[in-house]
Structure formats: C-alpha cells, structure tokens
Amino acid sequence: MKVYVGIDLGSTTTKAVMIDEGEQVLGRGITNSRSNYELAAAIARDEARVSARFTLLERELGEAPELARFRTRLAKAFRKQQSLTQLAAFRDLALEEAGADRVAAIRAPLTAAVRRVLDGMKERVEKPSLLEGGAPAKTSDFFRDRAAADYAKLAEQIQDRTVRFDDLMGIFDKAILRVENTELDLSFAGNVGAAIEEATRGLDPSVGERGRGAVLRVAEIPLDVGCVIGTGYGRQTLPFPREDIRSEILCHGLGAHHQFPLTRTVLDIGGQDTKAIQVDGDGVVTSFQMNDRCAAGCGRYLGYIADEMSLGVHELGPIALESTRTVKINSTCTVFAGAELRDHLSNGQRREDILAGLHRAIILRAMALLARSGGVEEELTFTGGVANNPAAVEALRALVRENYGERTLNISPGSIYTGALGAALFGRRGLEARELAA
C-alpha cells in the first residue's frame, strides 16, 4: 500500500507521522532531536513504520475481545523486545567504556559494578509484570529516559568507596550518547518473531494461531512510501530535496485543519517559539505571526519558573489550577522571571496564585500574537508542548472568552504530532497534484 511520511524536526523532539492514501494516520514516532538530525529523522520514521504495522494489525484483527487481548500482549512483548535490543547495544558500549584508559585506575571494580547495574536493568526489562497486570507505570517513551532512571537507581545501590556514583554515571553518559547515535534494528520484522512467542504463551492455541496468521499477513503488506516531507526548525538539515521541505507554519495549519476541520485559528506554543496561524476552509494558511527574538512567554519560560521553584515543569499547571486568587504578573521576560517570582513569594503570595498569574501572563503574550494574526473568529486549535498544561489551557479559554466571546477550543491528545501530520498531508496532496499534472 502507498503511504506518506511527514517528519517534524523540532528543537527538542523529532516526530514522524505516516498516513495512508485515505489520509488516515497509520503510525507515529517520536525521539529526541540530537546533533545527528539525520539519525533522529530515521529513528522517528522507523518508529512510525512499526506503529503503522500495529495499526494495520488492529484493522486485520477486528474487534473481538480475545484478539484485542492478543494485540495488547503483542505490543508489550514487542516493546520489551526492542528494549532488549537497545539494552544489549548499550551493554556492549557501557562495558567498553568501563574498560577505557580514562578509568584505568579502577577498571576491574568499575567493570564489575557496571556489569551488575546492567544485569539489574535487564532483569527489570524482563520482569513478567510488563506483560500482564494492572496499569503500567507512566514511563517515558524514550529509551534514554527509561534507561537513565533504571541505571541511576541501580547505581545508587551498587556504588561504594572505590566505585562512586559519579564514576558509574560517567559511564552511562558516555555510553548512552553512543547508543543514541547507533542505528539499531528495532523494526517490526526484526523483533516481532520473539514477541509472538511471548505473546501467545499461555493463550488459547486457536487465538494464538489466528493472531500469528494476522501478524504474518500484516508483515507482508508492502509499505510503499510515496513521499517524505520534512518540516520543523531542523528542516534545512534534512537530507531532502528542496521541494520536499515545508515550513512548520504551513504544516501546523494543515495538520490542525485535518484533526479539526472547522479550525480557522491555530495557536502553537512550543519550547522556543509561539505561533498564531489563521487557516482557510482548506487548511491553507492565510496569515501567521510568531514571537520575536525574545523567548518571553514560550515553553522555555515555564522551564525557568519550574527550576526556580524546584518543581518539574509538568507539575506547574496542576498547582496553578488550585489558585483562588490570581496574582498579577506583568513581565514574562525570562531574565526577570526569577526576581519577580521571589518578590511575590517574599510578599507572602501563595505559590499557586503566583503560578496562576504566570500562566495568564504567558497566554497574554499569545493573545497579542493571536490578535496580530487576525484574532479568533471561529474554532481555535491549541497545539505544542504547552497545550498539555491544564492551567495554560484554562487561561487561554478564559482570555479567548473575554476578548472574542464563546469559541470552541480544540486540543488533540496527539497535538505534538500536528506539524508532522501536516507534512505527511502535504506529501500526499503534492504527489497527487504531480500525478494529475503528468
């Protein structure tokens, strides 16, 4: 089948979306952007390809509950298999680093300690609880994050006077950087075999057989990529011809329109920039505005605030929602953020009230960009990392109501993929146009 891929190379993450001929989303992938953009794009794309196979499998298996259960088990087993592949690569590199001259003085004990940590990590991955049982713990999608958490926890237990915690983490830092820059076989074909064995274990054999048959049929479907379109800040570095690169403004507009066809305005607040976009009934951008050189009022500002308060950035929104009396904050200047915050705290203001004020201040900046781009006349779609922050969403809802009246505010759970989706759509439509022309 013919598929189209959009890749959004953002400043912090790289996203890929694969769609089919009918513009349905088949698969999505995400990874950290790294110095090697090409590799990040490849990893995200491969992940989207794997995720597409699972979507196809879902279509193949249908709604029957026992088959759905098989699919869930298979997905978990598949992820475990991928993790083991990643872990094996990480293991080789970590042991290599432990043997390096740099740490020659403690080579033997260090190697032994690293080995113990690695064994512990493997054990955690292989734990059967991954396959069955209640709600899985909320873990990151990134191997780096999961590995870092496990490694650090184990390293803390294993450290001693000869091999200190810092020695162990030094090995981690070196090895994880290398493993992230190694292309591993995380493909469907390469990992699904072992996953089937594990997923069918203990299942009714007839269900197992039907499942296995479906997997084999899905694995056979050719995913013929008609077009790959790149977008995002790193798009210039993508190894694509010029005509296959689109600005993320256009991609965000089209992607949001595809998710919510009545959208006429898109607000995207990312780490470093804020964009206000107006689109027409076809999702074509008619005007846009971005913040200037100053990053005030972007996601990064929340990062500074979180650091200043020793909180995780994801904790800010929920705390702010507890506010009963919003403090007025005038400056969203990242430079002054700390001083103003301390000023308010020392005046005895409550943390949640200050945070509510900060969220409102950020959205005020966005409101000015929205006004610049043409206002909010119909449905508004909010995308980007800050769209996951409930206090930001509430502030936006309130300010839009105050300034424009009641408006539908759309937020997609997959809002982070909006740009990549738009790029994939450009791919499909562009190819169609080219074929029509020919």
């Binding site: 200037d292 904050i329 005038n330 301390r342 000023d343 308010h344 005020l364 409101m367 006004a371 300010l399």
Partner: protein, 398 residues
C-alpha cells in the same frame, strides 16, 4: 500598602484631597470627564505628553484631557498586537484603552511632537479611528522668534480653526486671552506646590504631589487650580516631621509615567524627590504666557520659544546639554540625580550620557535605571535607590 516610612495619607484635611486624587488617577473610564461633558454639553480633547496647547482647547469651549497611558492598571492585549517588543509601553496601553472603548467619550486627540513613536501613533490614530479629530502638533525646534516662533503661531492658528470647527465655538482673541489667564493661574498654583516640595518635601511628598498634579488631566482648569491650592494649604498645615532623607531630582520620566508604586518605592528607599519631570507638561512653559505679546497666539508661541524647560524631546540650541539640569539640581538643593527612563525611550536614553557628563563635571552624584509603566516589581530599584541615598548621606559633609 501603608508603611511606617510613608506619611499617613488619611490624616487631617489631606485625607479627602488625596482620596479624590487617587480615585481620579485610577479611573480609566474618565468618569470625571463624562460628568463634565454631561453637565456642560461640552466636548473633550485627549492630549498626549509632553506639552499640548491646552489653552486653545479650552478657548474653543472644550475640556483638554491629559492622556498618560494606563500604567499598570490594564492588561494589554490588543495594544501589544500593534507594537514590536522593542517599543515602549505607553502607545500599547493607549491603544488598548482606546480599543476597549474607554476613550469613546473623547472627541479628538492631540499628539505633540515628542518622539517618533508618538508621532507615528498620531497616524495610526487616523487609520484606527477615522471619525475622530486627530492632530499632530509639530512644535518648533528653531528658537528664533521670527522664524520658529512665527511658524508656531501660524500653526496654532490653524489648530484653533480645527478645534473651533469641532466645537462650533470660534477661538477669539478674547477667549484665548481668558484661557491663557486661567492656565497661567494653574501653573502658578503648581509652582507653589513645587516650591513647597522644595522647601518642605516631608510635607508635600512626591507621590502625593504627583497625584494632585495628575488630577489636572481630567479636571477643568479652574477646579484643578483650586484643588492644587487646597492640597498645598493642607500639606503646609500638616504636622509631618522631616526625616534624614536624601534630596534628589528624578528625570527622564516626562512621557511614559512610572507606576505609582515606583515613586513610592523611591520615597521608601530614603529619598525626598524635590523635583521631577513626570508632569512636565503641566509646568510648561515656565512662567506666564500672558504679557509675551498682545496677540494671544503669538504669546503662546513666544512663551514656548523663550521659556520651555530643557527636556530630551526639545533641541538644545545653546550646546549646553545638562547645564539646566545641574542648575536645577543646585537650585532645588538636591544632593543627587536619579535618571529614571522608560525602556526603549530613545530621547531620554540618548540624552542620558550628555546629562550625566554635565553632572560629573559638577560633581553631582547620580544613578540610573529603566522602567515600564506596568512594571510589577520594585525590589531591585528599591535596593539601588536605597544604596544611592545612603551613600550620599554617608559621604556628604552635612
């Protein structure tokens, strides 16, 4: 918030005066103007900083209304949509207030020549509010009475015609003479207030004086004159005790105004602000207009040419930049100068190195910071001003 450092504003006769001044300052809906319009069936004309020929507006039977931005009293959204981040705050809040209908009761607007931002705002106004009179008032930068003065007198006549057309009342020489007399009286009253500040700054504090002078933004001139004199009398009669504060001059704040909290912060930091340029337009020109010339238009123009205060938006033909500031500092017995300029204010900030140079030559200590009218935190400024005031007290020979 009241602290031990600030005089008790509610004591004696001062209480009601200051309460009124405070209410007028905080009322962005301009209800005093609305009441005046309803009572007199008059029109009202908004005047931006620094100096506008309010006498002409008054003589045409209309109420001049001083517009000084909205300080920290509005959330700016629409205003920000029109200005890049490197432009000062006052045009943003002015547009915000206008677009939210709070200037609908004003029938016209005067934009005096002060800088490129306010100049361009006059054109934006013509585009955004095509139904309203909006006039750029180009003031002369040539100070030869026969050239710049004559040009300005003719400009004032043309402006008077536009104002008359709007109000339906011609600006006769008699009417203009009468208006000039009213404004001369007002400037004398403000002069008395400034003299009291200089003589007894513990009695007439800078933040109170500021509010009292700012009341002139919305009150008819004669009412304001009486209001100022009532404050002067009450302040003089108060039993406020002097403190060991440092006498300073504050300069650079002639257009976009510092928030009230900032003025109070400077006072709490241990300064007596014995002179400032925050309400410079109300004290412009220095001395009476009447008597300059039998022709009242020429009198206004000549007074402007001959007796305008030195400020950044006015060209200094003498070449003695900073000398008037140094002279003023000595005359008011100030011990130091605080340069408080709005962020991105090209005139004030470009002036500063020349002014500080002159102060250095005279051995006058100074310090400098920037603000915006909606500044929310004063901690850093408080520390800076406090250190400045302390260091003067510690190192001076007094």
């Amino acid at each position: 918030m009241h602290t031990a450092d600030a005089p008790d504003p509610t004591s004696g006769a001062l209480g009601p005066i200051l309460a009124r001044a405070d209410a007028l300052y905080h009322d962005l809906t301009l209800s005093a103007v609305r009441e005046h319009k309803e009572a007199h069936g008059a029109k009202a004309i908004g005047c931006l900083p620094i100096w506008a020929p309010r006498e002409l507006v008054d003589a045409a039977g209309m109420l001049p209304v001083g517009l000084h931005g909205a300080g920290d009293r509005v959330e700016v959204i629409r205003g920000d949509a029109y200005f890049q981040s490197y432009i000062c705050q006052i045009p943003r809040s002015t547009i915000e207030v206008a677009l939210t209908g709070r200037y609908d009761l004003l029938d016209g607007f005067l934009f005096p020549a002060i800088c490129d931002v306010i100049r361009n705002l006059s054109g934006m106004w013509k585009i955004l509010f095509p139904g309203k009179l909006s006039r750029y008032v180009d003031v002369p930068q040539n100070f030869d009475p026969a050239v710049g003065g004559a040009f300005f007198a003719r400009e004032l006549r043309a402006l008077a015609e536009d104002l008359s057309a709007l109000s339906g009342r011609p600006v006769t020489d008699e009417a203009l003479h009468a208006s000039i007399a009213r404004y001369d009286e007002n400037r004398r009253a403000i002069g008395e207030l400034m003299a009291l500040r200089e003589r007894a700054p513990h009695k007439a504090t800078a933040s109170e004086s500021y509010l009292v002078i700012r009341a002139g933004d919305v009150l008819p001139v004669e009412e304001h004159t009486a209001f100022v004199r009532a404050y002067v009398a009450a302040a003089e009669a108060s039993d406020r005790k002097p403190r060991d504060h440092t006498r300073v001059v504050v300069t650079g704040a002639f257009c976009e105004q510092p928030p009230l909290g900032l003025i109070r912060t400077l006072e709490r930091a241990g300064t007596y602000i014995v002179w400032d340029d925050m309400t410079l337009g109300a004290r412009w020109p220095e001395g009476d207009v009447e008597g300059e010339d039998p022709d009242p238009f020429v009198a206004l123009a000549r007074a402007y040419i001959a007796r305008s205060p030195a400020t950044a938006s006015r060209y200094e033909p003498s070449g003695e930049k900073g000398v008037p500031l140094a002279r003023l500092t000595h005359k008011s017995r100030a011990e130091g100068v605080i340069f408080a300029a709005p962020s991105f204010c090209d005139p004030a900030l470009l002036d500063q190195p020349m002014l500080t140079g002159a102060l250095d030559r005279e051995g006058v200590p100074w310090t400098a910071f920037k603000y915006a009218e909606n500044l929310g935190q004063f901690q850093v400024i408080r520390e800076q001003a406090g250190t400045f005031a302390d260091s003067i007290r510690l190192w001076s020979d007094r």
